[in-house]
Amino acid sequence: MVTTEEVIEEKEEKKVPVHVFKNPEFQHTAFRSSKKRGWRNLKQIISLERTYTWPDDSVHYSSIDAPPAFTPAKKYSDVSGLPANYTDPLTKLRFADASEFYRVRDLPMDIVNGLLELRKANSIVG
């Protein structure tokens, strides 16, 4: 049976090692005012940047995003990776020939959804 003394000893042994080179009074700005502030993720930082006014020649993180390609995207089969000219209207999967079509129709639902999710085509809108 673990007595309370042993439990306290364990706690002391397992304390997080305090490194010599760190300033013990350091507190991140995010946590200085309120404990619950937390860290901003990239999307929040980008939107924060956009709200400022910048000088005309400035470049920030979101302004160097590559544009979409001018040529239309090629379609590839979700079953084999070969170029696919056909799409199954029921499952919206792409396939290259007739034998692949039968395989597409036999696929269970979770695999169908996984393949659509892989090319980000799984939304019910469009």
Binding site: P67, S80, L90
Partner: protein
């Protein structure tokens, strides 16, 4: 084909585990030596400026185990940092990293990584007294840089920090004599296309594609899991990474190469098989007769145990019976009034003499029954037959040669039954999906019935069978082919193949599969498809142009003589750029997009992974000289950096905003004139004093 030409390419997975880093010695020779940290989102490479190689290379993440809910103390969490994590798959869900895409956003995590770094370098002074050379992302937001500087200066007490860009460091290391070039840096989360003119990068014409090595690994991982669902757990992200590093390449002409894979001969020649580790099923060395003997023994033992139990029970019952009879006799001696009578009744645990007699008769019956059972058991033991085998396999083993024909017919019939059931299920599923068929109309009728709103007389669900209606309206048709059915089908097919192979013909695979083959995954089109993601991000659902399209766009931002300067030195760097076949592919794409008979040149970094660190090593003195010192930090804040050819440019926003404010609460001002009041505080608010940004020398801005 002669067998000597066929090479069966089966590859094993190494499944390497990370090795723990030692704590390096720290002595006077390291006094005031700059520390070079290439802080990538995949790996972090750390070393002194006096070293030749980075001392520590580790995955830039840590795993934090949450203690069991049983222990109330919340502070006890086990943290495994970087190379302390032995098997990364075990802690995959608890992994945390300081990076969000390619920017550092989580500074507590960064603090953990720095702790690991500095402690493994052996630093034992009260502050980290070395200038730091730290890499950051291209166009790193000021906010992120500000917090990084704060962490370094306030927590670790460093004297100065120099921020630089890994791609540019690698470029300058490999191109000392080439001031112009087009840098293509393929990283973990992103790929940058950066034109470099006169040694300086031009950020306004650079572009970033949100596709990198991690996306390639993830795509391969999910794809293999979907292609081989039976190996769902065996295909892990680490294994996908290993396959990506060793077996993938970039096709020079994607469309023609991918069409070749539809040819069976090409497939057989070039397919790569990866052997997943498996455990062979324990082969029973015991023969069939011995198994039967064993089963007989077990049955016999069971019967004996039962008999013994029954005997014991019988003894107990008989003893009880004699006791009760004695009590009855004793009671007959007394009248109901006397206390001994009551006492006797109590001992018998009954309330009246009638109950007592009833109990006695019951016991009699029980004893009789037990005796009969024992008689039956002994008689049955003599005629005992082999107990009916439970395994399905034994059902279909033929007993006599004369019955063989009949048995084969039965097996064929069973096989046909299963196939017809499957076909019916499939047909029903299809019918339900189409609009005007009877099946789908019936389904809608049932659904509308279930959805009726009337509350009275609603006794749906009172019987268990009511819920079966949901099976009827399930679009899947009651689930896909069940596993049991599949197994049965396999057995029937293997039996049929043995006895009448012509029945199956070409409908099923005729190659017998060994156990090892069942655990192999075949890489066919995947070999070129994964590398192609860099050129066609649409395959992953990303609506951006690939490397080729982005190069074309970036070149289009300049006029033709500058284009020629850039294209004469297209430089590839970054971890994923070591994919075989990348350079020929880019050359081919450039040939297609450049004017007829114009020149171009593509070269790769000598060491795509480490050249950023080596580049910082080469120019460490200049970098430290251009760094952000503590005095600068305290005066201007942590984001204002001096411009140098390996680093980002700094722009101050025109409006002072406190970093404490919540995102989106700052009202965007429509004025373009800078706000006159400047409130510089040591906390590093954005200040609008009159110090202008340093203009790059020789700024040849394109029209």
């Amino acid at each position: 084909m002669a067998t000597s030409e066929e090479t069966v390419r089966i590859f094993e997975l190494k499944d390497a585990r990370s090795v723990q880093d030692p704590v390096h010695p720290y002595d006077a020779s390291h006094k005031e030596v700059p520390l070079i940290i290439d802080n990538g989102s995949y790996h972090c490479r750390v070393g002194w400026a006096t070293d030749q190689e980075p001392r520590i290379v580790f995955r830039n993440c840590y795993a934090k185990h949450r203690k069991d809910r049983g222990k109330k103390i919340a502070t006890e969490t086990e943290v495994l940092v970087a190379n302390e994590i032995g098997n990364i798959e075990a802690v995959r869900f608890q992994l945390k990293s300081p990076h969000d895409e390619n920017i550092v956003t989580h500074f507590e995590a960064q603090e953990t990584m720095f702790d690991y770094t500095f402690s493994h370098l052996g630093i034992n002074t009260s502050r980290v007294d070395h200038p730091i050379i730290l890499t950051e992302a291209f166009c790193n937001p000021n906010y992120s840089r500000q917090l990084m500087s704060e962490l370094l200066f306030e927590c670790y007490g460093i004297p100065s920090v120099s921020y630089c860009i890994d791609g540019l460091l690698s470029y300058h290391r490999n191109n000392r004599n080439n001031p112009d070039g087009l840098l293509i840096n393929i990283g973990n989360y992103t790929t940058h296309v950066i034109p470099i003119l006169d040694g300086y990068a031009d950020p306004s014409s650079s572009r970033r594609i949100r596709m990198g090595g991690l996306h390639l690994s993830k795509f391969l991982w999910r794809w293999l899991q979907l292609r081989f669902p039976q190996h769902l757990n065996a295909v892990t992200l680490s294994r996908a990474e290993e396959i990506l590093h060793n077996h993938m390449h970039v096709a020079e002409d994607y469309m023609s190469e991918i069409s070749k894979w539809s040819n069976v001969n090409y497939y057989e020649k070039y397919v790569r098989r990866i052997q997943l580790p498996f455990v062979a099923a324990p082969v029973s060395t015991v023969s069939v007769e011995q198994q039967r003997e064993r089963r007989k023994e077990a049955a016999r033992r069971l019967v004996e145990m039962n008999a013994k139990k029954r005997e014991e029970k019988l003894m107990e019952d008989e003893a009880e019976l004699t006791r009760l009879i004695e009590l009855v006799e004793a009671m007959e001696e007394f009248t109901p009034d006397e206390p001994e009578y009551q006492h006797a009744l109590e001992e018998a645990e009954v309330t009246s003499p009638d109950d007592l007699t009833k109990k006695i008769t019951l016991l009699h019956q029980k004893i009789e029954k037990t005796r009969q059972k024992m008689l039956q058991a002994t008689s049955a033991a003599t005629e005992e037959e082999e107990p009916k085998p439970k395994r399905v396999c034994e059902d279909i083993s033929p007993k006599k040669k004369a019955d063989l024909e009949q048995w084969v017919e039965e097996v064929k019939q069973q096989w046909r039954d299963i196939q017809s059931r499957r076909a019916a299920r499939r047909h029903k599923r299809q019918e339900m999906a189409k609009r005007r068929t009877a099946a789908s109309q019936e389904r809608m009728r049932i659904i509308s019935q279930l959805a009726r709103r009337e509350k009275k007389d609603d006794n749906f669900g009172m019987r268990d069978e009511d819920w079966d209606v949901y099976k009827a309206i399930n679009k899947e048709g009651g689930g896909s082919d069940s596993e049991e059915e599949n197994e049965k089908l396999q057995e029937l097919e293997s039996a049929l193949r043995q006895h009448s192979p012509e029945f199956l013909g070409d409908t099923t695979a005729t190659k017998p599969t060994s156990l090892a083959e069942n655990y192999q995954i075949q890489l066919s089109t995947e070999q070129i498809r994964i590398g192609e993601l860099l050129f066609q991000p649409y395959m992953y659902g990303l609506e951006q142009g690939g490397i080729t399209a982005t190069i074309q766009y970036v070149l289009g931002l300049f006029d033709s003589d500058i284009q020629n300067r850039l294209v004469n030195n297209v430089f590839l760097t970054g971890g994923p750029s070591s994919l075989p076949g990348l350079k020929p592919r880019i050359e081919r794409e450039l040939l297609a997009m450049r004017p007829f008979q114009s020149h171009f040149n593509v070269c790769q970094a000598q060491n795509p992974v480490l050249d950023a660190w080596y580049g910082a090593l080469d120019t460490s003195e200049e970098l430290v000289a251009m760094g952000l010192t503590r005095a600068d930090y305290l005066e201007h804040g942590g984001d204002r950096i001096k411009y140098h050819k390996d680093g980002n440019m700094f722009w101050a926003p025109l409006m002072p905003v406190a970093p404490e404010s919540a995102p989106g609460s700052a009202v965007p001002s429509k004025e373009t004139t800078p706000a006159p009041e400047a409130k510089p505080t040591p906390e590093g608010m954005f200040s609008t004093d009159n110090i202008t940004t340093v203009e790059p020398t020789g700024d040849s801005s394109s029209s």
